[in-house]
């Protein structure tokens, strides 16, 4: 399975992360996205007329949408990540997969503007990003009330992988995550999954430093 990949792309990272979490090996084909703009060159435009990455190739299957790639990887290697055991859960996963495109268009575009000098209306992008974060925060709070730590279930699904990267990288675009305690908790839960991998700007969880021990008479 060949992934046309860019190390700094959160969308490519979704696919790398999914593969790592379920133990699938990808054949990585690096794309000179910046500064070379190779994704807009003839070879990749022939493969994906949208001119975007990631692109996943497996035999004669060519996928150009990261959500479809997550579905494909999970269906092949770890179907429990599809979260399709009930009608409600199936729909919820689909809801978050679609929602994840709003994160790309807002927080992702804000990040490209701030980091790689892409044109864009930064104030509007941040505003849309914040609206999406508030919706996600509300969704996660409801999940907590249901006793579930992840977006669609008490166990992680492709919905979490689809939403996590652009959310975790929001500060790269100048959008703070400080106001969202449920998102921060969820981010910790995702980062503590077995097989989790990092990307630049998304750090692994470091061991918590031991709690300070107060001796009698101190404080």
């Amino acid at each position: 399975m060949k992934l046309y990949d860019y190390a700094l792309s959160p969308s490519c990272y979704k696919v790398r992360l999914m593969a790592a979490l379920i133990g699938v090996t990808l054949d990585i084909r690096p794309v000179d996205f910046h500064p070379g703009c190779e994704h807009r060159g003839p070879e990749l435009m022939a493969l994906n007329p949208a001119g975007s990455i990631p692109i996943l190739e497996d035999g004669d299957l060519v996928l150009t949408e990261s959500s479809a790639m997550l579905v494909y990887l999970a269906a092949k290697a770890a179907p429990q990540w599809l979260g399709n055991d009930t009608a409600g859960r199936t729909a919820r996963v689909q809801q978050w997969l679609s929602f994840s495109h709003r994160l790309t268009a807002s927080l992702g575009a804000a990040r490209l503007h701030e980091m790689l000098l892409r044109p864009g209306n930064i104030a509007a992008l941040r505003e849309q990003g914040i609206a999406a974060l508030r919706e996600l925060e509300a969704g996660l709070v409801e999940q907590h009330i249901r006793g579930q730590r992840f977006l669609a279930s008490d166990r992680p699904t492709i919905a979490d992988v689809a939403c996590f990267p652009y959310v975790a990288l929001a500060p790269d675009g100048g959008v703070s995550l400080d106001p969202y305690p449920a998102i921060r908790l969820w981010s910790r839960a995702v980062r503590s999954l077995e097989g989790f991998i990092e990307m630049p700007g998304i750090h692994r969880l470091h061991e918590l430093t031991p709690a300070p021990v107060l001796k009698v008479g101190e404080a």
Partner: protein, 281 residues
Amino acid sequence: MTRNTMIDGWYPVSLASQLDAHGRRTALMGEPIAVRRGEDGNAQVTGGNGRDLPACIRYGHVWSSLGDPQKPLFAIPEADQPGRRLVEVGVVRVRCSPLRAVENFLDIAHFPFVHTDILGAEPHTEVQNYKVDIREDEDEVWATQVKFYQPQAAKSAEGGITTEYMYRVPAPTCSVLYKTCPPRPAEWDVITLFVQPLAEDLCDVWPWMALFDDETPMTDLIHFQQTIFVQDRSILENQIPRLLPLDPGMEIPTRADLTSVAYRRWLKRHGYTYGAQLVAQ
């Protein structure tokens, strides 16, 4: 306020390979500038009031100045050595002081924590003794004999090695790093950080490299360096205070940041204070 002595310096303002007749609009120290390729193929840079600014093309980039540069752009003799791959890493914008971007580049102690499993790894966090001086003849800051254990020092490195570094600061917003070259032990790889000061707390960073490595595809070399630099970016954007403090009283020097101390002292001596925080004395 005293005259900004950094006005007469050279700064990177574009990748030379991406410059066309249409050009790009950018800024230097708060002044909007326009950079384009002229009909003669040379770079043309225009200041905010339409005046022509000095321009030259070197090390893959267009360089310009708002003032009157007293010296040509600093030399990197290795850049002209045959057989090196010249890597244009591309611009990354960082909301930080241009001086802080350079200072972070000089700090090896952060490798195991920020570039975990690439440029450093716990428990190999110790920085061994090394030498730092301000070379009076060249008027540059140099750190030499810097040794550090690295899990993956370069794209061409197989597994962990103890890497030797030399750091050089030839201009207030530029640093050149010389680093053990795995395929050619007698030579040094050259890794630079060229910083374009947009404002006192905003900069465009243009990393560039001149490497001996015939194996690794160019895109992999670019991605390796971008990965490392973007790992730094989030740290840089969260540093407090945002400007680089130049009062020695504000830092507790450890062995690792002797280079930083020398860099700050050198900045202060020259009045290179754009992006610095001067504490009243």
